[in-house]
C-alpha cells in the first residue's frame, strides 16, 4: 500500500469516527446512540487493522481483535440489554437542543485542531492528519456526557470519549505498549460493568434513569 493511500485511508477512518460520534448529537433515541457507538468502534477496528497490515505488527492485530470483541460486540449488546430492562427511557429531552449541539461540536472540532497543532507539527507519521479528529472525538464524547440526561446516554458519551483516546494512541504512536493497552482494556471493561450496575441501582432507587432527578445532595 502506498503512503498516499494509507494516509487517505487513515484520515478517512478518523473522520468517520468523529462523524459517528457527532451523529449521537442529532439522534434522539438510545438504540440509535448505541448503534452509532458500535459503528464508531468498528471504524477504529478497521483503522487498527489497516495499520497492523502495513506495519506487520501482530500486537496491533491482537488489539484490534480485543477491541472488536469488546466495543463492537459485547458493549453494544450489553447496553441494549440494560436499555430493555430499564425501559424505554429515551433521551428525548437533552439539556441542549440539536442545532446548538451541532454548532458546539463544530467549535469543539476547531478547538481540537488548535490544540493538536503542535502535535501534528512534530509528528512524521503518515497518520498525523487524523490526530485532531481523534481529539475532537474525545471532546465530543465529553460534551455528550455533559449534555444528556439519561445515565445510559452518559455511559455512551464516556465510551465515545474512550474511543477517541484509543484512536489518538493508534494515530500518534501506533499504539501504546501492549501491557498498558491490556491494562486499559481491563479498566474500561470493569468501569463499564460497574456503571452498568449503577444504572440498575439508579433505576431501582429513583424509578428513572434521568440523572436530572439525582439532586438530593446539592447543598
Amino acid at each position: 500500500m502506498s503512503v498516499e493511500i494509507f494516509t487517505t485511508v487513515m484520515t478517512l477512518a478518523s473522520s468517520l469516527v468523529l462523524l459517528a460520534g457527532i451523529a449521537i448529537l442529532w439522534r434522539r433515541s438510545l438504540p440509535a446512540y448505541i448503534h452509532a457507538f458500535a459503528r464508531q468502534s468498528f471504524f477504529i477496528v478497521v483503522a487498527v487493522l489497516v495499520l497492523a497490515a502495513r506495519e506487520r505488527d501482530r500486537e496491533l492485530v491482537l488489539v484490534a481483535l480485543l477491541m472488536f470483541a469488546l466495543k463492537v460486540v459485547f458493549m453494544p449488546a450489553a447496553l441494549r440489554r440494560v436499555q430493555r430492562h430499564v425501559g424505554a427511557d429515551a433521551d428525548v429531552r437533552p439539556y441542549v437542543n440539536t442545532p446548538v449541539s451541532l454548532a458546539i461540536a463544530g467549535i469543539l472540532t476547531l478547538v481540537a485542531y488548535a490544540v493538536a497543532q503542535p502535535v501534528v507539527a512534530l509528528s512524521h507519521l503518515p497518520t498525523r492528519g487524523g490526530m485532531p479528529l481523534a481529539l475532537a472525538s474525545v471532546f465530543v464524547g465529553l460534551f455528550i456526557v455533559a449534555s444528556r440526561r439519561s445515565a445510559l446516554s452518559q455511559i455512551v458519551g464516556f465510551l465515545v470519549m474512550e474511543n477517541g483516546i484509543a484512536l489518538l494512541a493508534v494515530l500518534a504512536t501506533y499504539g501504546v505498549p501492549l501491557i498498558v493497552e491490556l491494562g486499559v482494556f481491563l479498566d474500561v471493561l470493569l468501569g463499564f460493568l460497574v456503571m452498568q450496575v449503577f444504572v440498575y441501582r439508579i433505576r431501582d432507587a429513583f424509578e428513572t434513569t434521568d440523572v436530572d432527578r439525582l439532586r438530593s445532595l446539592r447543598h
Partner: protein, 488 residues
C-alpha cells in the same frame, strides 16, 4: 524484595475475604492484621530509600520505588492501617445492627483491600501507563464501597464519582499518550519508554510544546481524582456518603495518590520545559481550590461535607507547595502526611457521631463532649490539628509552606491563601464548637466505645503531634531525597 510483601499483603487479604464463604469474623481480623503488616513494610521501604536508593523489581523494572514513592506508600499504608483497624468497630456494629449482611461484608473487605492494593501499585509502578491503570482501578474499587449502603444519596454520590472520576482519568490518559508520543517522535521507540526514570532522563530531548500540552491534560485529569477545584464537584458527595473507614482512606490516602501522579509528570515536564510552567499551573489551581473550599465552608450545614471541603483545601495547599519550588515540596509532602493522620482520625470519628446522632447535619449534633467524652475529645483534637494549630503537624507544614511561598517570591498569592486559610479556620471552628458544646438531645445514649478501640486513632494523633514538634531525622532525609527525585 520489600515490594512483593508490600503489594502482596493487601492482595492476600482481598483473596481471603473473597474466598472464605460465608464471611467469618477472623477474616476481618486477618485483614486488619495484614494492613498493620503492610504499614510496617512501608516503614522498612522508607528506611531503605532514605539516602536516595531505589528498589526495582520485575522484567523491565516493572516496579520501582524511590524516596518519593516511599513517602506516599507510608501515607497510604498508614491511612489504611488506622482505617481498617478502627473500621472493625464500624463493621461489627453494622453487622450486629443487621444493616450489612454477610455477603456485603465479604465484598466490603475484598474491595477495601483491592483499593489499598491499587493505591500502593500506583505509587510503586515504574511505567506511567501502569500508574494510570492503577489510579483508574481505584475508582472502580471504591465506587461500590461508596454505594455500600444503597441509600438514594449513596447511589447518587457513586454515580457522580464514577462518571466524573472516569472522565477525569481518561483525560489524564490523553496526557500520558501525548508524553509517549513525544518520546517516540524524538527518541524513538524503545523498551521502557513509559518508565518515568527513562522519561526524566531523556526529558531534555523532548519537545517542550508537547510536554506543556501533556501536563495540562495530566493536571486536569489526575487533578479531578485529587479533588482540585474546579473539578472537585464529586468529592463532597462521595466523601460524605461513603462509610466512615472508606471516607477516611479516600481523603487521607487516595487524594494524595492522584497528586503523586501529577508530581511524577511534573518532574518530567520541568526537566523538559525548564521554566516555571508547571509551578504556575499548580499555584493557580491550588489557590483556586483553597478559595473554593473557603467559600463553601462558610455556610456548610453538614459535618461530613465540611470535612470533605477541608480535604479540597488541604490538597490545594499541597498543590501550592508543589508550585513553590524545592523549598515548597518537602513542606507539601509533610503537609500531606499530617493531613492523612488528622483527616483519617476525624472521618473515622464522624462515623461514630453519625451512628449516635443519626444525622449528618451540624445543627442536629450538640453536646458531643458530654455524650461521647473520649470520641468527642479525640474529634476536637483532630479538628484543631486540621485547622493548623500548634502543636499539631499541620501547623508546622503550613508554616513551612507559607515561608516557601514568600521565599519563592509570591507574597500576594501567599497572602491571599493565608487569608483564605484564616477564613476556613473561623468557619470550621464555629461549626465544630456548635457540635461539641451545648446540651445533648434528651433521648440520646451516652458513653464511648471501649477505650482500647480508640488506640489506632490515638496513635495517629500522636504521630500528628510528633510531626508538629519536630521533623524526625530519618523523615527529614527521606523528604530531602524526595526533593532530589523531583528536582534532580
Amino acid at each position: 524484595m520489600l515490594l512483593i510483601p508490600l503489594l502482596g499483603s493487601p492482595l492476600l487479604a482481598a483473596a481471603l475475604s473473597w474466598l472464605v464463604r460465608p464471611y467469618r469474623r477472623w477474616v476481618g481480623i486477618a485483614s486488619a492484621s495484614l494492613s498493620v503488616a503492610t504499614f510496617v513494610i512501608a516503614i522498612l521501604l522508607a528506611r531503605r530509600c532514605l539516602d536516595g536508593a531505589a528498589i526495582v523489581l520485575g522484567p523491565m523494572e516493572f516496579l520501582r520505588a524511590d524516596s518519593l514513592s516511599a513517602v506516599f506508600a507510608l501515607l497510604v499504608a498508614g491511612g489504611a492501617c488506622v482505617s481498617t483497624v478502627f473500621g472493625r468497630s464500624y463493621l461489627d456494629r453494622e453487622r450486629s445492627d443487621g444493616r450489612l449482611g454477610e455477603d456485603r461484608l465479604r465484598r466490603f473487605h475484598a474491595l477495601t483491600n483491592v483499593f489499598i492494593f491499587t493505591m500502593l501499585l500506583a505509587v510503586t509502578a515504574h511505567n506511567v501507563g501502569i500508574m494510570w491503570v492503577a489510579v483508574e482501578a481505584t475508582t472502580i474499587a471504591t465506587a461500590f464501597l461508596i454505594g455500600l449502603e444503597r441509600s438514594e444519596g449513596a447511589i447518587e454520590a457513586s454515580w457522580k464519582y464514577i462518571l466524573i472520576g472516569s472522565i477525569g482519568i481518561a483525560l489524564a490518559f490523553v496526557g500520558t499518550v501525548l508524553g509517549y508520543f513525544d518520546f517516540v517522535a524524538r527518541v524513538g521507540p524503545t523498551d521502557g519508554a513509559l518508565n518515568w526514570s527513562v522519561l526524566v532522563r531523556v526529558a531534555d530531548r523532548l519537545d517542550p510544546d508537547i510536554m506543556r500540552l501533556s501536563f495540562v491534560f495530566v493536571l486536569i485529569g489526575y487533578g479531578t481524582k485529587a479533588g482540585l477545584a474546579p473539578m472537585h464537584t464529586w468529592l463532597p458527595d462521595a466523601h460524605s456518603e461513603a462509610p466512615a473507614p472508606i471516607s477516611a482512606m479516600m481523603s487521607g490516602a487516595l487524594l494524595p495518590v492522584a497528586l503523586y501522579a501529577v508530581l511524577r509528570w511534573k518532574a518530567v515536564t520541568d526537566a523538559c520545559v525548564g521554566d516555571g510552567f508547571t509551578d504556575h499551573m499548580l499555584m493557580i489551581i491550588g489557590a483556586l481550590s483553597v478559595a473554593v473550599a473557603a467559600a463553601l465552608l462558610v455556610r456548610q450545614a453538614h459535618y461530613k461535607r465540611m470535612l470533605a471541603y477541608s480535604s479540597v483545601e488541604h490538597v490545594g495547599l499541597a498543590c501550592l507547595g508543589f508550585g513553590f519550588g524545592p523549598a515548597g515540596l518537602p513542606a507539601a509532602l509533610l503537609h500531606l502526611l499530617s493531613h492523612a493522620a488528622a483527616k483519617s482520625t476525624v472521618f473515622l470519628l464522624s462515623g461514630e457521631i453519625l451512628h449516635r446522632y443519626r444525622t449528618t447535619r451540624v445543627s442536629g449534633v450538640s453536646g458531643l463532649l458530654k455524650t461521647m467524652p473520649l470520641a468527642g475529645g479525640l474529634f476536637l483534637a483532630g479538628i484543631l490539628g486540621l485547622l493548623g494549630l500548634p502543636p499539631f503537624g499541620l501547623f508546622l507544614s503550613e508554616f513551612l509552606l507559607i515561608r516557601a511561598g514568600f521565599a519563592a517570591g509570591y507574597p500576594r498569592l501567599t497572602g491571599f491563601v493565608l487569608l483564605m486559610v484564616l477564613l476556613i479556620f473561623i468557619s470550621l471552628l464555629g461549626h465544630v464548637s456548635r457540635m461539641l458544646y451545648g446540651s445533648p438531645p434528651e433521648a440520646i445514649h451516652r458513653g464511648d466505645l471501649p477505650a482500647a478501640r480508640y488506640v489506632p486513632i490515638a496513635l495517629s494523633l500522636a504521630i500528628l503531634v510528633i510531626l508538629g514538634l519536630v521533623i524526625p531525622g530519618p523523615l527529614a532525609s527521606l523528604l530531602r531525597s524526595a526533593v532530589e527525585v523531583v528536582y534532580g
